[in-house]
């Protein structure tokens, strides 16, 4: 990208400059002996073309063109801003429906459903393991009836809905399709995403039900079904977010996520799907953490690396198959319970890094999330933060405004290389599934998490309010409390449903579900049949547990 002779001269001048800086270090010492990013990449005092002399313009390309370093669309936010999508859900379907309508009124442009843990693990609210968890971290969904209440008054052809559901993703998708049918909306009109990423559940998030093999089958069934019937649906959101939250570095986040992506593509190709048939609907989900430039570089590196993987490794021909489209959420683990208003600033910088990194949609965390689920006023402030970035500060007026920064380009390269090395190592171990089964990813993440904590405790890493600039007294706050009566009223509702539905229809639907689950036929039609008969999520997942078995976590420490 730069003239050879210019770079040669520059390298000599840079060496001189470095020498000069070192010679003055007695009088003007630097704050640290070594500067590093969160991924332990060295940070130099100054970047010039000399540090990126090997970078060719082909590695950057134009936005909307291979390898998409600068963005997946030609005009990016000059055309349309990212989708502002706040993850929300608590208590009953009725309560969450109110929060959704509030967010849409406030200018949010997409919905994102948080489900409670029993729903995510395929238990009805009356299951003994649901004790204490009903409606806590998300909304409770026992059956299609709850989905009807959740989306009451929200036309599904007018909104895009993201649903954070993994092991039972196929069941919840079936409910969404059935609900749309009731609203008179055809499946091909539906826009949205199911997370549907089981591999990171084993590694980092924990809401697995079935062992890897049948879980992968459910996923490829969804790919195949949607390729035929739901052209606008994102069939998976391959997630680095939780891997990062569990403590990984930025490089590990990209590496493990793309390695998981490779495993899904491999699985789908193996069952006979054409890569260009399903790959355009794959989407990703990343974390926006604190180290600002490293985060921007991470998003760009991820796009470039995935484009190369899809084109070179899988031979995908459709440019849409090469594109890494992603959702971003700011880093929950970076928020502090101390001086929680400071979290507003952390979130704003993180959100800005996601926008400068070219995200397609964004969730900004609320200031009180280290304490409880966010209150309505905190959620509003978080949404307003995105709106300030989108409408007031001009960063959306040109594409990839940081592209060409010597530092950023150098970091983008280093992250891509670091992630590619990890992926090569995972290939050697036999791929992502094997690397998870033998605990490789978990151990790497655990080690990074422990290092991070040690750095905080030694104050090598500063956390405002925790190890520097402490306040003697913390202000009390109004926190959102989930009504403890939710569990009882939900169990009551479930009983009424189970007594009032057509029992024969339920039994028939569950019987055919079992039959289909035992074969290699696509499971989606049988699931749609079962949810329409108002079989509950727990009943459906129990059938699948019997047929597929259950995953047992191997405890590593």
């Amino acid at each position: 990208m730069f003239d050879y002779n210019v770079v040669k001269t520059l390298k000599i001048q840079k060496t001189e400059w470095d020498k000069m800086v070192r010679s003055r270090s007695d009088r003007f010492p630097q704050r640290k002996t070594e500067f590093k990013t969160d991924s332990n990449l060295p940070v130099e005092a100054l970047y010039t073309p000399a540090e990126i002399s090997g970078l060719s313009f082909d590695e950057l390309g134009f936005p909307g063109e291979y390898p998409f370093t600068r963005g997946v669309q030609p005009t990016m936010y000059r055309g349309r801003l990212w989708t502002m999508r706040q993850y929300a859900g608590f208590g009953t379907a009725e309560e969450t429906n109110e929060r959704f309508k509030y967010l849409l009124e406030q200018g949010q442009t997409g919905l994102s459903v948080a489900f409670d843990l029993p729903t995510q693990i395929g238990y009805d609210s009356d299951h003994p393991l649901a004790r204490g968890e009903v409606g806590k971290v998300g909304v409770v969904i026992d059956s299609l009836m709850d989905m009807e209440l959740l989306f009451a008054g929200i036309p599904l052809d007018k909104v895009s809905t993201s649903m954070t559901i993994n092991s039972p993703a196929a069941v919840i998708l079936a409910m969404y399709i059935a609900l749309a049918e009731k609203q008179g909306v055809a499946p091909e009109k539906l826009n949205g995403t199911i997370q549907n990423d089981i591999l990171k559940e084993y590694v980092a998030r924990g809401t697995y039900i079935f062992p890897p093999q049948p879980s992968m089958r459910l996923i490829t069934d969804i790919f195949a079904y949607c390729a035929e019937k739901m052209p606008n649906w994102n069939t998976i959101s391959i997630s680095g977010y939780h891997i990062r939250e569990a403590g990984s570095t930025a490089v590990q986040e990209i590496a493990f996520t793309l390695a998981d992506g490779i495993a899904y593509v491999d699985a789908a190709v193996k069952v006979g799907l054409d890569v260009d048939e399903f790959a355009p609907r794959l989407s990703f989900f990343f974390n926006a953490h604190l180290n600002f430039f490293e985060e921007v570089a991470k998003f760009r590196a991820a796009r470039r690396l995935w484009a190369k993987i899809m084109k070179e490794r899988f031979g995908a021909k459709d440019p849409k198959s090469w594109m890494l489209r992603f959702h971003t959420q700011t880093a929950g683990s970076s928020l502090t319970a101390q001086q929680p208003d400071v979290n507003i600033m952390r979130v704003a910088f993180q959100a800005l890094s996601a926008v400068l990194g070219g995200t397609q949609s964004l969730h900004t965390n609320s200031r009180d999330e280290a304490l409880a689920l966010p209150s309505q006023s905190s959620v509003l402030l978080a949404l307003r933060t995105q709106q300030v970035i989108g409408y007031e500060i001009g960063v959306t007026d040109t594409v990839d405004p940081l592209g060409g920064s010597y530092y950023l380009e150098a970091l983008t390269d280093s992250i891509e290389m670091g992630a590619a090395d990890y992926i090569a190592k995972i290939d050697e171990l036999g791929g992502a599934v094997a690397a998870i089964e033998n605990g490789f990813m978990q151990r790497e993440i655990q080690q990074s998490a422990y290092t991070y904590q040690r750095q905080i405790e030694s104050a090598e890493r500063i956390v405002i309010g925790v190890n520097k600039f402490l306040l003697d007294a913390e202000m009390p706050r109004d926190l959102l409390k989930v009504n403890p009566a939710v569990a009882d009223s939900q169990v009551e509702k479930l009983k009424i449903l189970q007594n009032s539905r057509d029992q024969r229809q339920v039994a028939d639907a569950l019987r055919s579900l079992r039959t289909v689950a035992q074969t290699s036929q696509n499971i989606m039609p049988a699931l749609i049949g079962a949810v329409k008969a108002y079989a509950t999520l727990g009943e459906i997942c129990d059938i699948l547990r019997e047929v597929f078995g259950e995953y047992r976590q191997q405890v590593l420490l």
């Binding site: 393991l129 559940e201 409880a372 403890p484």
Partner: protein, 130 residues
């Protein structure tokens, strides 16, 4: 062996999958010279108590970030006491609002450590009491 090492059970109560904190604390207590058993995810109060008694631990550390602490932590203390394990120190941590702490302490948890606590403080707390 000069002195018997302190034995700790670190347990994830309920369906919550956030185990970063539990694992970091388990590793830190191990580095502080204790013997640590980690249960893994999705433990019921009954399972936690069974493991605590089987492993003959002096300390049980409970973790929940899903808001289920009010329902899941007190039964652990109660079941331990019912089974005669009256001396076992039970501590807890996670996303726990300040206002819930008095209730948990009344239920027999000896301390609740909220986000931002240093692992050294937790190790010291245990060593001072066991």
């Amino acid at each position: 062996m000069s002195e018997k090492r302190i034995r700790v059970l670190v347990a994830k109560a309920g369906l919550d999958g956030h185990d970063r904190g539990a694992k970091v604390i388990a590793q830190a207590l191990r580095d502080a010279g204790m013997e640590v058993i980690y249960t893994g995810l999705r433990q019921t109060p009954e399972q936690i108590v069974e493991a605590a008694i089987q492993e003959d631990v002096q300390v049980v550390g409970l973790s929940s970030l899903s808001g289920a602490h009010m329902q899941l932590f007190p039964p652990v203390v109660q079941l331990l006491r019912e089974q005669g394990a009256v001396d076992v120190l039970v501590i807890g941590g996670g996303v726990i609002p300040m206002e819930d702490i008095p209730y948990l302490k009344e239920a027999g948890l000896s301390e609740i450590f909220t986000p931002g606590t240093s692992t050294e403080d937790i190790a010291k707390y245990i060593k001072d009491r066991v």
